[in-house]
C-alpha cells in the first residue's frame, strides 16, 4: 500500500518539496533554540507558556474531532461518511503527531523527555495527557490502516477491529478533556479555573476539526480528482454550526459570569482579553476578530442555501478556523497568565524563531496528511475503478 506514496504527479512532488523546505527552515530554527535555550522565544518569567503550547492545545482539538466521523458512521450507520472517515482518522494521526512535536519543542530539557515515563507521576495531568495522546495516536493509525487494508481486499473490516473503533470514541473525548484539565485544575489561574473549560474545548474543537476537514475535502476534490461526497460535507457543515454555536454560547457564559459577578480575579483576565490593560491591546484586537469571524460564519451557515454553495461554505470554514484558532492559539494561554499572580501586566509576543519552528511543525503535519491521504485515496480509486 505504501508504494502509492511515491507514485505521484509533478504537482504532488513540488508540494512535498515546498513542505520539506519549510520543515528544513523550522528545523534550523530549532537548532538555534537547542543551542540558546528558550531565550530565543518571547516567553518570560510571567508568561511561561506561549505559542507552542497554544498550538498544541488547538491541535488536540483537531485530533479529537475525528470522532465526529466515527460516530455517524459506526453508531448511526451513516453511509455517507464511509469515504470521509479515513480522511478524519488520518487527519487525527497528523494532528496528534504535531501535538507531540509542539510539546517537545516547548521543553527546556527535551533530552530528558523520558523522565515522564521513568518517574511516572499520576498526580500530574501532564502524565495522563501523555498516556491518552499516545494511546489515541496508536488507535487511529491502527484502525485507519486495518480498515483501509480490508477495503483494498474488498472485504468488510474484520470483526475484531470493531471494539477498537468503539473505544476510539470516548478516547477522542478524553484527549481534549484531559488537555483542558491541564489548565482547569490550577489554583490561582482564574481564567482557566472553570468547570466549562473542558466543554468549551470540545465545542471549539468540534467546530475547528470538521471545518479543516471540509477544506481538505475540497482540496482533495481539486487536486486528487476524488470526491469525498457532498452529503458528508453537508453533514459535517451542520456539525460545525452546532459546535460553533455551542462554542460562542460558552464564551458568552464565561464573560457573563466574570462581568456580572465583577470578581476582580476573574474579570481582569477578560478585560485584558477583550479590551487590553495598561495599553496592551494587541490581543484584544485579535479577540474581536475571532468573535466577529465566528458570528459571521454562523449566521452565514444558518441559511441552507449558503451551506450548499461550495465557495460560500469554504469561505465560512476559513472564518471558523480563524475564530477558533485565535481563541485557543492566541488568547487562551496568554490571557490565562495576565495579569500575573502578583497583579502585574506582563507581555508576550512570539519571536521569529518561535514562529519558524511553529511553521515547521505545521508543515510536518501537512506532509503527513498529504502522504497518508495519497495512500488512502489511491486505494479508494483502485477499488472504485474495479
Amino acid at each position: 500500500m505504501l508504494e502509492k506514496a511515491i507514485q505521484g504527479s509533478a504537482l504532488y512532488w513540488i508540494w512535498l518539496l515546498v513542505l520539506l523546505a519549510v520543515i528544513g527552515v523550522g528545523f534550523f530554527a530549532y537548532l538555534t533554540q537547542l543551542d540558546q535555550g528558550l531565550s530565543v522565544t518571547g516567553l518570560n518569567r510571567d508568561v511561561s507558556w506561549g505559542f507552542y503550547i497554544a498550538q498544541f492545545t488547538f491541535l488536540v482539538g483537531v485530533a479529537a474531532s475525528a470522532v465526529m466521523m466515527v460516530i455517524p458512521k459506526y453508531l448511526h450507520n451513516h453511509k455517507a461518511f464511509a469515504r470521509m472517515l479515513i480522511l478524519g482518522e488520518f487527519l487525527a494521526v497528523a494532528a496528534v503527531i504535531m501535538c507531540l512535536l509542539f510539546i517537545i519543542v516547548d521543553l527546556g530539557q527535551p533530552q530528558r523527555l523520558f523522565n515522564v515515563v521513568l518517574y511516572p507521576t499520576p498526580s500530574s495531568i501532564l502524565f495522563w495527557d501523555m498516556v491518552v495522546l499516545n494511546g489515541y495516536l496508536f488507535l487511529n493509525i491502527f484502525v485507519g490502516w486495518v480498515t483501509l487494508q480490508a477495503e483494498r481486499k474488498r472485504v468488510g473490516p474484520p470483526r475484531w477491529i470493531i471494539p477498537f473503533i468503539y473505544i476510539s470514541i470516548p478516547w477522542a473525548i478524553s484527549i481534549h478533556t484531559v488537555t483542558a484539565f491541564l489548565y482547569a485544575g490550577l489554583p490561582g489561574r482564574d481564567f482557566w479555573l472553570t468547570a466549562v473549560l473542558a466543554p468549551s474545548f470540545l465545542a471549539s474543537a468540534f467546530a475547528a476539526g470538521p471545518a479543516l476537514l471540509i477544506l481538505l475535502a475540497y482540496a482533495i476534490k481539486i487536486f486528487a480528482k476524488w470526491d469525498p461526497g457532498k452529503e458528508a460535507i453537508q453533514s459535517l457543515a451542520k456539525v460545525v454550526i452546532y459546535a460553533m454555536l455551542a462554542h460562542l454560547f460558552i464564551i458568552a457564559c464565561k464573560v457573563f459570569t466574570a462581568a456580572y459577578s465583577m470578581v476582580p480575579d476573574k474579570l481582569e483576565h477578560y478585560k485584558y482579553l477583550y479590551f487590553g490593560l495598561e495599553g496592551h491591546t494587541m490581543l484584544a484586537t485579535f479577540s474581536w476578530v475571532a468573535i466577529s469571524a465566528g458570528v459571521i460564519a454562523v449566521i452565514t451557515l444558518l441559511f441552507p442555501k449558503n451551506r450548499q454553495a461550495d465557495n460560500i461554505l469554504a469561505f465560512s470554514m476559513i472564518l471558523v478556523l480563524m475564530s477558533t484558532w485565535i481563541d485557543k492559539g492566541l488568547g487562551l494561554i496568554t490571557a490565562g497568565f495576565i495579569p500575573t499572580p502578583l497583579h502585574h501586566i506582563a507581555t508576550y509576543i512570539p519571536t521569529q524563531t518561535e514562529l519558524l519552528i511553529t511553521l515547521g511543525i505545521w508543515a510536518t503535519g501537512f506532509l503527513i496528511i498529504t502522504v497518508l491521504y495519497k495512500v488512502g485515496i489511491g486505494v479508494r480509486k483502485e477499488i472504485e475503478s474495479g
Binding site: L43, N115, G188, L342
Partner: protein
C-alpha cells in the same frame, strides 16, 4: 569553617562507602537523598516576615545573601531569575487589602511559601519538584524536563525558569562552589536553604536580616516562629486557594 570541612569529609567518606556497597544510591532521587546527622530538624519549617522592620537596606542584604549563596544569575530582563525579591504589600496581599490601607505601597520581601499543600508538586510530571518530610519544597535540577507546568501551577509567581544558560550571567570568580549552578532549561526557586539546615545552619536570608525574619518549626509551640505568630497579627498570601503557605507576614 573548619568543622564544616571535617563534617564534609566525614560525609564524603560515608557516601563513598555507601556507594561502594550500593552503587544505585549514587543516582538517588528525591526519595533517597541523604541527610547529615548534625542538621537542624523540624516537623514543619516556616518563616515569619516582620513587615514593619523591612527597610530597603535589610531587604537588599537578604536578597544578596541568598542570590550569592545559590549562584542566582543576574539577568536584567523579563526572563530573569529571582528566589527572593521585593514587591509592594498590595501586590502580595491584594485579596486582603483595601484602597485606604496604609501599608498599600509598602515594599515587602517575597519568596516561595513552601506550601503545605503545594500545587507545584502536584502538577510536576517527573517528581522533580517534591516536598520533603519537613515541608520544604525542593527541586531536583537534574530531573526537571523544563515543561514549566509548575510555574503555571504556582499561584504566587515564586518560580523562575532558566531561559538562558545561567553561567553566562555569573562571574567565574564569584561562583559559590558549594552549591550547584544550574543547566539551561530547568526551573528553580527558593529552597529555604535546605542544604544549610542539613548542616546545622539557618537560612542565609534569616541570618542576613537578623531580627526581621523569623524561622523555625511551626509545629513546635516553643519555637521562635510560633512565639511571634502567637503575639502578633499575621497574614499569609491567598489563603482562599488552600495551598497553606508557610511564609507568614507580620503586620
Amino acid at each position: 569553617m573548619k568543622s564544616n570541612r571535617r563534617k564534609f569529609i566525614k560525609f564524603a567518606g560515608l557516601a563513598a562507602l555507601g556507594w561502594s556497597i550500593c552503587p544505585s544510591l549514587a543516582g538517588a532521587g528525591p526519595s533517597r537523598y541523604k541527610r547529615i546527622e548534625e542538621g537542624l530538624r523540624a516537623e514543619r519549617w516556616a518563616m515569619a516576615i516582620d513587615t514593619t522592620k523591612l527597610t530597603q537596606e535589610v531587604m537588599e542584604r537578604a536578597i544578596a545573601a541568598c542570590h550569592e549563596l545559590h549562584n542566582v544569575p543576574r539577568i536584567e530582563s523579563d526572563k530573569n531569575i529571582k528566589w527572593i525579591w521585593v514587591e509592594t504589600f498590595y501586590n502580595l496581599i491584594y485579596d486582603q487589602s483595601h484602597p485606604y490601607l496604609q501599608e498599600r505601597q509598602l515594599p515587602v520581601l517575597t519568596l516561595c511559601n513552601h506550601c503545605d499543600n503545594p500545587p507545584c508538586v502536584r502538577v510536576c510530571p517527573t517528581k522533580a519538584t517534591f516536598s520533603r518530610e519537613d515541608g520544604i519544597v525542593l527541586m531536583d535540577f537534574h530531573r526537571c524536563i523544563g515543561c514549566r507546568f509548575c510555574m503555571a501551577g504556582c499561584p504566587f509567581g515564586a518560580r523562575s525558569f532558566n531561559y538562558y544558560d545561567p553561567k553566562l550571567f555569573l562571574d567565574e570568580d564569584e561562583i559559590n562552589r558549594d552549591f550547584p549552578t544550574r543547566d539551561m532549561g530547568v526551573v528553580e526557586k527558593c529552597e529555604f536553604c535546605a542544604h544549610l539546615l542539613d548542616q546545622g545552619q539557618r537560612p542565609a536570608c534569616v541570618e542576613a536580616a537578623e531580627g526581621v525574619l523569623f524561622f523555625g518549626d511551626v509545629r513546635d509551640p516553643e519555637s521562635e516562629v510560633r512565639q511571634v505568630l502567637g503575639e502578633r497579627y499575621s497574614l499569609v498570601r491567598k489563603p482562599k486557594l488552600g495551598t497553606e503557605p508557610q511564609v507568614y507576614y507580620l503586620i
